[in-house]
Symmetry: C2
DNA sequence: CGGCATCCGTGACGATACTG
DNA sequence: CAGTATCGTCACGGATGCCG
């Protein structure tokens, strides 16, 4: 028997970018990271938020990511004893890569195809940079027709999450298209508020900074 | 016959990162961009600096990139009438993506495998950010045992190039391992000079800034 | 029901050979 | 020099089955 691991296909180049692509260049891997940047997720939730991925590919990728130290499996304590997948520090370090990709790909969202799947928290990545420029550290809920997510500005741990945060410093209410323009940098929060396309709820410094257009402390 | 273009496989997600990966997520595409960031290149040169890519895949990728507006074909005037490939503005906009990937992948260069190919200009990407932090606008030659390349700090157009620049503002002489530590941020230029691992040649402000460790004007 | 493993059809990939 | 043609292999996507 030859139990040879068919060792992962590598570019075999002594180049930092090629090394990175050896680790995360496979199909679906970076999108799994995008999901896990929202915090620990169960296998079934990952499968539901990654429409099109087959079950075996998802299982294989998760195993690869675990083997490479990008993610870990963890058993939640009972009751509700489910196993969740979670990014390691190295995996979370891919945030700048996904941010750069999102920034570059944002213009392509101008076209919205009928076959496109949509999850509210997918808007978090382009928004992270914009909101961080507009306001200091804090947690902001973002309310769309399609769902709610939250972003954490200037902290560590998960950069964003699905659903509302426990105690947000501010809440933004807008529609998906306004959210797209915001993420693309075509619109500032202050401009959106003035145009009546964005409502900012909250009375703390984060909400004030978002409304006013000048950074908080 | 059904001449249906089996239209490129898409993630079909209304997400900026997924859109970006639709465009550049295929195997080899981002490495072709890395090569073209060094300036216009001929097909054969691309093939030579991308060891492992098969000729048909390279041709297919270049056609895809052309169709997507990432690159253009251009015929050089005779003599030496060769066709070269060149990035468009949109294609060059991928530089932050490759920079982020390089930054994340740089630690993996600690292990150097005997099967790894190596081209001098592959060190340019991790170095770009570090040198831009250390010195103002200018052109810097970097001389390794394995070859020479140059980086352009704070300009537009190609961010780096193979071989020496015409009139560099400074020249750095070091070995590959020092270059790796420099790119990873484990070492500053000033520290490398002090340790005798880096020589900085040139008498202008760029060279002075690199030596001194404080940014130029 | 969550978490995979197995099977199968299709297409992408990699190597080599060949051509304008 | 700049690709196209051919072919074997493997990865992917979809469906289904198993097992705690």
């Amino acid at each position: 028997m030859s139990p040879r691991q068919p060792r992962r296909r590598s570019y075999d180049q002594y180049c930092a970018s090629a090394r990175a692509l050896d680790a995360v260049g496979d199909r679906w891997t970076l999108l799994i990271v995008r999901e896990l940047l929202a915090g620990p997720r169960r296998y079934t939730d990952l499968h539901a938020d990654l429409p099109g991925v087959s079950t075996d590919v998802l299982a294989t990728r998760l195993k690869d990511m675990e083997a490479q130290g990008l993610a870990t499996r963890r058993k939640l304590p009972p009751p509700g004893a489910a196993t969740v997948y979670e990014l390691t520090g190295r995996g979370a370090g891919l945030l700048p890569v996904l941010t750069a990709l999102a920034e570059w790909g944002a213009p392509d969202l101008a076209e919205r195809r009928p076959t496109d799947a949509l999850r509210a928290h997918w808007f978090a990545l382009p928004l992270l940079r914009r909101l961080a420029e507009a306001a200091g550290p804090g947690v902001v809920d973002v309310v769309l027709d399609e769902g709610v997510f939250h972003v954490r500005l200037g902290g560590e741990g998960p950069a964003y999450g699905d659903g509302p945060a426990g105690a947000p410093d501010a809440r933004l209410v807008l529609d998906a298209d306004t959210c797209r323009e915001l993420g693309e940098g075509l619109l500032s929060v202050a401009q959106g508020v003035e145009a009546g396309r964005i409502a900012v709820l909250g009375d703390g410094p984060v909400a004030a900074a978002l409304r006013g257009g000048h950074p908080g402390p």
